[in-house]
């Protein structure tokens, strides 16, 4: 027996029918995956990071498999805000799930401009701000690892939109909770964590980096313990809703993220391996809640016993 009410979660004003979201960069603009995934069972999707102008992205090779993970250096290939509004929004409006729009930019003004241009789009339920992309020189990580940038970006964007504002944090820092606090104090409704960790791989035959960009972002099951530690750190130190990301591949992982402090989670790399994961995990989550007599999924958030 499925009880949808028990699974809904609120992130600021953002009401999600269940805590399972699809992570930015692993669901495109929803089009391909909509052909087979039942979106009515998905909490929401976060669209591929958008920049003001279209970006071509990095040359191949953009991805490398690693042990229980992968490196990517896509380089924020995206259609740009204008084309997004023109050609992607109409399709997104047809989807029966919450649409969260992820923005990545190379300057604080560009972030603000993107949000301003997109703010009127009804279908956009929230903004997720990518300040932590490790794969482009001129954007993202330089902000994500710098506390004052996070402060500035958050407060500037808060002034531009009333929609829920989610800051996506970089794990490549010593104390992620400082960044979560900066986000909170400057008006963010939630943080999402973690983005990928900087990694690299070399081909021992050619001695060349396996990625054209040399370094890339590490994702997948390999990074899960790191994500759990980061989320737990934020949960202990800062009172802000956390959207957990990093290596989730099944329902047990999801539960572990909620226990560690997350209010909702995002599936990333696993969408490539099993594009039906979101639906499967929801079924398992329903079973788990029935078996464990969980009435409200929100009861699990930060339910760790120390």
């Amino acid at each position: 027996m499925i009880n949808p009410i028990a699974l809904s979660v609120n992130i600021g004003n953002l009401e999600l029918r269940n805590p399972i979201l699809l992570a930015s960069g692993t669901v495109g603009y929803g089009y391909e995956i909509a052909k087979f995934l039942d979106f009515s069972k998905v909490g929401g999707i976060i669209t591929k990071s958008l920049s003001l102008k279209p970006r071509k992205g990095n040359k191949p090779q953009r991805i490398v498999e690693t042990t229980a993970g992968m490196l990517n250096a896509i380089g924020l290939a995206n259609v740009g805000v204008e084309e997004f509004i023109l050609s992607k929004i109409p399709f997104l409006e047809t989807l029966d799930t919450k649409i969260i729009c992820n923005i990545a930019a190379s300057s604080i003004d560009e972030y603000a401009e993107c949000v301003r241009m997109l703010n009127d789009q009804k279908v956009i339920a929230a903004f997720e701000i990518n300040i932590s992309c490790p794969n482009v020189k001129d954007g993202g990580l330089i902000f994500g690892n710098d506390l004052s940038s996070v402060t500035k970006i958050t407060s500037k964007l808060r002034a531009v939109t009333n929609k829920p504002l989610i800051i996506k944090l970089s794990p490549n820092v010593s104390n992620i909770s400082d960044f979560a606090r900066a986000a909170k104090e400057n008006g963010a409704d939630a943080v999402s964590a973690i983005n990928t960790l900087v990694g690299a791989a070399f081909d021992i035959k050619t001695k060349k980096p396996k990625l054209a960009n040399i370094t890339g972002g590490l994702s997948g099951p390999a990074i899960k313990p790191i994500a759990i530690a980061k989320i737990f750190e934020i949960s202990r130190k800062v009172d802000i809703p956390i959207i957990g990301i990093g290596g989730i591949s099944n329902c047990d992982d999801l539960i572990e993220f909620l226990i560690a402090g997350a209010s909702a989670i995002q599936l990333g790399t696993i969408n490539f391996v099993n594009p039906f994961s979101a639906n499967i995990i929801l079924d398992d989550l329903n079973k788990y809640c029935i078996q464990n007599k969980i009435n409200k999924i929100t009861d699990l958030t930060a339910s760790y016993k120390l």
């Binding site: 391909e32 071509k56 090779q61 042990t67 992968m70 099951p221 490539f272 391996v273 099993n274 594009p275």
Partner: protein, 253 residues
Amino acid sequence: MNQYFCKITSNRFITKNTFILECECPDLVNIIKPGQFCNIKVSDNLVPLLRRPFSISDVQNKNISFMISLHGKGTEILASKKEGEYLDILGPLGNGFDYTSNDFSKAIIIAGGIGIAPFPYLIKKLKVLNISFECYLGFRNNTEIINEGITKYSVATDDGSFGVNGNIIDLLKKELVYNSGYKLFACGPTPMLKAVQKFAADNNYNCEISTESAMACGFGICQGCPIESTHQDDHFMLVCKDGPVFNSRDVKL
């Protein structure tokens, strides 16, 4: 695209390094096209994590088969699969060859090494449509020759141990009788595809090439498989979605 759990009906080596993995997939046999591929999870372990892309090689009754060359860990695991085990497959993926357009008089099939994988199925379809064809195959040496499902072929080997001594272009130059109405269909390693691309351009052939790229998803959501377009400079095309088959005029290799 859908996910299928397919019972393996046979798995056998045809050369030292190449095997044919056949499985039952009644749903796919009717919809999959020559040149399309499937993305296979080689085991339910998290290592290797990603699926592995393989061209559909042949279709017989309810069965589809893959022709696979040993490469690394993933193909090794696939080689060890036994009849009766199950395979987790996503497919059909990609576009496939354009062989039904009736705008050519003969299909010239050009394959390097394991690049012959998609052609048994293409040949089967060509035969059904009564389209004539010729095959030109290149291998490193005579121990690596694969001709499973291939007819009307000439062979070149790099070391001359079988057929023409030289590469596939040497073979084409030597044996292909020019006819501007022919259409080339090529698959093989990128350096070979580059050479075929140039050969086609030089001789003004209509030519389709099946390209390869590292892939994560295989169906267009990860942007992991870019390929440069000759027409648009502002974005890459995707091998998995816009390809893997491209007209050789349309891509920079």
